[in-house]
Amino acid sequence: MNILEAEGLKKQFGSHKVLEDVSMYVPEHCIYGFLGKNGAGKTTTMKMILGLLKPDEGSIRVMQETVEYGETKTNRYIGYLPDVPEFYSYMNAEEYLQFCGRISGMSGGQLKKKIKELLEMTGLAGVKKRTGQFSRGMKQRLGIAQALLNDPKLLICDEPTSALDPVGRKEILDIMAAVRERTTVIFSTHVLSDVERICDRVAILNEGRIIIEGELEQVRETHGTRGLLAEFLEEENLVRFLKKAGLEKNKAEITERQITIYEEHPEREIMRWMEVMQEEEICPIRLEMIQPSLEKVFMEAIQ
């Protein structure tokens, strides 16, 4: 079952078209990476899913229920972590979670237990200072805790790792990976390594349209130029190979003993390389066809 279905979303702010035609289908229990440049419309799409912005056209369904602008009924299925989560600075983490829990209709022992569990999971247990004194990373962690409070079916995170240091980033990604069994996660980002690390599916949003969508592996296979890699035992062999194969250095990524080239027809090229190696009696220690990195897919897609 699809937990989220959005069809034909359009949105214009004044004369600026933000979304031209966005459709997305998110199946249950996956981590869905929502990619796009800054200003591509990721936050706008997410706010529409939450009923905080009205689409000019199109419809959104969460758990088969239609999202109505201004109404927030479907939000009972959703946990949301804004890009820069801001909390009431005069409350501490526990007080804030209690407040959020009561808003979600929770109370008593069930709420207390859940708060304890989430504070421990996010490493905020025992932190007594008020949220106004929290670091960016602590705010993100509290943001995730409040988003997970009502055991949401869908967790929406808006660029959760963008402004964090490597330690903070790892903590957030670990938490997201840990909750995937219980909930579906959509997270928008432009940090592609994060997506490669934890996502099952990706969608790339560019100029108001989703230009690529699918499983991460499948996207890598079907989009973006594949590459060839050859590695030699000695540098001299590499130099000789480059010369005989007539490869231009500026089109390749060359390290000390290794060459990588991205080609539209890598099968044909690898056969040629093998012929050259046989003729010249140069034996590589590694020769392989490589999948394009997500970065390559992304860069090619948005050009």
């Binding site: 927030t72 939000n75 804004p82 989560p85 009431y88 407040f99 959020c100 009561r102 808003i103």
Partner: protein, 255 residues
């Protein structure tokens, strides 16, 4: 309903921890204490500052003067401070984005407005009642038994109703405009327009602002009961309409 009570509680914690309630309370208490004291000692104070040799005949202060001072101080300084303190009630939430996670939890938007209004009304009402009690106590202390003045309850009720109306204006101003300045201009403008309209004699009867500008006449019983009833009725109706309008506007507000 749980969401509403949770939000009222949050508003209460906010007004305590951000010192809003404390500042309002101190200003109100100061005004409540100063009103009877200044009324009682005004002739002495004026006398002390008069140039020597100059004489000015002043009537002896009476209990009604204490209440006159009370109404004057509250309608001017008291309400001014109230409006300023509550003008940030929504703008802080907009600029910091603190409402987004809360609304994303499924809290109906109307509860935000209603809870903020409830908390503001309860705070102002509680402080106002305490202050009226303090003024009454001082008046009794200074003038003995002459506490009861015919129109005092009508005037107190009228001023309280106007304070509720002011808070509902602040709510609508806060949802219409993103900044607190917009809210202040809206509320100030609404009061000034009423004052200008009050120059037309026939309109006075229907203007809520009469409840504070004419408090002297109400206190002395110089205003017809019918006029006060009209003003009070319209004030209640206007406050309700403003509150409904705030809820409707906020429902459609882009956040």
């Amino acid at each position: 309903m749980k969401g509403y009570t949770a939000f009222v509680k949050k508003e209460w914690i906010e007004s305590i921890r951000t010192y809003r309630f404390l500042i309002l309370g101190m200003v109100f208490l100061l005004l409540a204490c100063l009103s009877p004291i200044s009324a009682r000692y005004m002739p002495e104070i004026i006398h002390a500052f008069m140039p020597s040799g100059m004489e000015m005949k002043l009537a002896d202060p009476v209990a009604a003067d204490a209440w006159l001072q009370f109404f004057k101080n509250f309608s001017q300084i008291g309400f001014f401070v109230t409006v300023i303190l509550y003008s940030t009630v929504m703008s802080n939430e907009y600029t910091r984005g603190t409402l987004i996670p809360v609304l994303a939890k499924g809290l109906p938007r109307k509860y935000v407005i209603l809870a903020k209004f409830t908390c503001a009304c309860l705070s102002v009402t509680a402080l106002y009642l305490i202050c009226a009690g303090i003024c009454a106590a001082y008046t009794w202390f200074f003038w003995g038994e002459a506490v009861y003045i015919e129109g005092v309850f009508a005037a107190l009720l009228g001023m309280w109703l106007f304070s509720v109306l002011l808070l509902s204006m602040v709510m609508l101003g806060s949802v219409l405009f993103h900044s607190s300045y917009g809210c202040l201009l809206f509320t100030g403008g609404a009061v000034v327009i009423q004052m200008i309209a009050g120059m037309i004699p026939k309109a006075t009867k229907f203007l809520p602002v009469g409840l504070i500008t004419d408090s002297t006449e109400i206190l002395n019983g110089h205003i017809q009961t019918g006029t006060i009833a009209w003003q009070m009725g319209i004030t209640v109706l206007a406050a309700l309409l403003l509150l409904v309008a705030s809820v409707l506007v906020f429902d459609r507000k882009k956040l």
